[in-house]
Amino acid sequence: MTISIDPQKTNNESLQPKGWLRYFSFSLDHKVIGIQYLVCGFIFYLVGGTLASAIRIELASPMSDFMPRDVYNQVLTLHGTIMIFLWIVPVVNGAFGNYLIPFYVGARDMAFPRLNAVAFWLIPPSGLMLVASYFVEGAAQAGWTAYPPLSITTPHSGQIIWILSVLLLGGSSIFGGINFIATIIKLRRPGLKLMQLPMYCWAMLGTSLLVVLSTPVLAGTLILLSFDIIANTGFFNPVLGGNVVVYQHLFWFYSHPAVYIMVLPAFGLVSEILPVHARKPLFGYTTMVFSIMGIVVLGLVVWAHHMFTSGTPPWMRLFFTIATAFIAVPTGIKFFNWVATLWGGKISINSAMLFSCGFIINFVFGGITGVALAQVPFDIHVHDTYFVVAHFHYIVYGGTVFIIFSSIYHWFPKVTGKMLNEKLGILHFVITFIGFNLCFAPQHWLGLNGMPRRVAEYDPQFQFVNQISSLGALLMAISTIPFLINIFFSIRGGKDSGDNPWNALTPEWLTSSPPPVENWEGEAPLVEEPYGYGKQFSD
């Protein structure tokens, strides 16, 4: 078949602004939308990071002296919500998904370009609304989980704005998910089989399934919660005969899969990056595919392990412990596959590779504490302590955010045609890795010794360890400086990368860098072996 489109003649070019202005337009080009997601997400990462710094400054001393306690609650709520819904989910799904998936399936755009643009443009207003809610009677204070009755009794306006914002972001996420499923299933280049797709496509397919199946449940739950707040109904208000545990079930039915929505795409991205920089085929492609789908299925039936202290009946504890422990199997398979991909490879030590290796190390640590937390006797002791905070950040920061940085170093030449500075990149990695572990490793100890999370004051005996943790947070804040310098200088003055600086075989590198408007000059290449290193690379 032939797709005969002259890129000069068609599509957005004549309709939409050119140059950097197109990033502020309702562009339908998946590459522009991907960058919009990434930059918008990064701005919110800086906002959320500032809030995290405020939390760590407050916790450097045992007394509540840096900010009032209710402001502390608002800060931790906004930190969690911004980092999850405005940074990690949009970037790891929306940014890289939009940029890469059409290349990987050999298409010229996503299946529904307009829906795609709508999904992105829902994000900035809802994010601004969320941040602005601080100035209206105070932002939400009930944490990113918004558990009732706390969320019903705290000041209403902030909580309602929070709900509205999360509903819009959930809608954006669902539209994105529908688009990814349709693109991967229906828009593949003729001749390209499912089992020939790069691993990131599988990860995004699994993630999008989770998004489509679980996000609507969160939306329904938040609508009921808003009824409780606005209309004085009693769905989750025990005083009016309601049931708070129902909220927790419905909430975690979304929010446990949400962890996989945040981490599965990172699994896919690292599976793209490692083979390129180790010059070896991805180890165990088929097992990778099946373990992703296994995680999707299991991820939907483990939510109650967040609720072992909520009066869960014993049979439920037993079921959810076993189901959760089972997730370690597919996750472990993936971990060993990555290590085996590196094994005996011709490894280049560059920023992308370092961040990916950092991911593997941090993630296995977070995975182990995750299995520990699934055990009821242990969980009951550390529930709502800093141990959980440490575990979660090892998965989401040590896992996903490391991969976001790794991906930026890997695909920056693709997007701009310029290389990033390697020395600054390695400096960025070293500071991030040390800062991250310094910040979160001590929190395991704090949790095991009984320091509760989400409280501005704590027992003075924990002060020293908290100060170590705050020092780590300071390093993490500093680590963004070499990164930003690197980006700003490399965009203008970076070394030209050529079309394929890494000699990679995945389809996005088989066109020019940066790519033309409709991705390919002429027909999309048929890539049957995206990881065929060692076979085809002899010439």
Binding site: I178, A182, L187, G220
Partner: protein, 200 residues
């Protein structure tokens, strides 16, 4: 080349590209309906859990009257059939007939909504009376919102089925089929809702 020309060019080229694939718009719609169905599933799960674990106080248990919801069930089932009739007429290029069936379907939808409101006004409980009352209104209200949207969409596609200048023809049936699928989905949800809320 003016802007208008180039947008036509895009449409032409897009359809050329799309010829190589099945029409995936229906696929996208089905995915969306699965998501929408999960919202209802969440509501149903909440309702059933409340029913099982949260006993209502004495004197707060209501017998729901069955005649109106039964009539509503019949109305929606008949409307699904009339929509189907409209589709058959459209495929035979009998646009006038298709339009008539569509208007009849929309009429049934409006009657459904009127009956629903009539029921609301005659129920012995209000939104905030107790847990059952709140869940009842949340579920039927959310479904009623779907029926309202569906009825509006039927009226729009009925207008678009007109002979002069209408966009829906036997060659371009996607908007028609999309609304039809949505309408069947809303009917199906009602049947489940009727069983769970009124009969159980």
């Amino acid at each position: 080349m003016t802007t208008l020309d180039s947008s036509k060019e895009i449409q032409k080229n897009n359809s050329e590209v799309n010829e190589n694939h099945d029409d995936f718009r229906m696929f996208g719609l089905i995915t969306f309906l699965i998501a929408d169905g999960m919202t209802f599933a969440g509501f149903f799960a909440a309702y059933l859990t409340y029913k099982a674990v949260n006993p209502l106080p004495d004197g707060a248990i209501y017998e729901l009257e069955l005649p109106i919801p039964t009539l509503n069930t019949v109305l929606l089932l008949v409307s699904s059939a009339t929509f189907h009739k409209a589709g058959k007429a459209l495929l035979k290029d009998k646009n006038i007939n298709a339009q008539k069936w569509l208007f009849f379907t929309a009429f049934l939808g409006i009657i459904f909504l009127i009956c629903q409101l009539f029921e609301y006004f005659h129920l012995p409980f209000g939104l905030t009376d107790n847990l059952f009352a709140s869940t009842f209104y949340a579920l039927t209200g959310f479904h009623g919102l779907h029926v309202t949207l569906g009825t509006l969409m039927i009226l729009i596609i009925a207008w678009q089925t007109r002979i002069k200048g209408g966009r829906i023809t036997s060659q371009n049936v996607f908007p028609f089929e999309a609304v039809e699928l949505y309408w069947h989905f809303v009917d199906g949800i009602w049947v489940i809702l009727f069983i769970i809320l009124y009969l159980l």
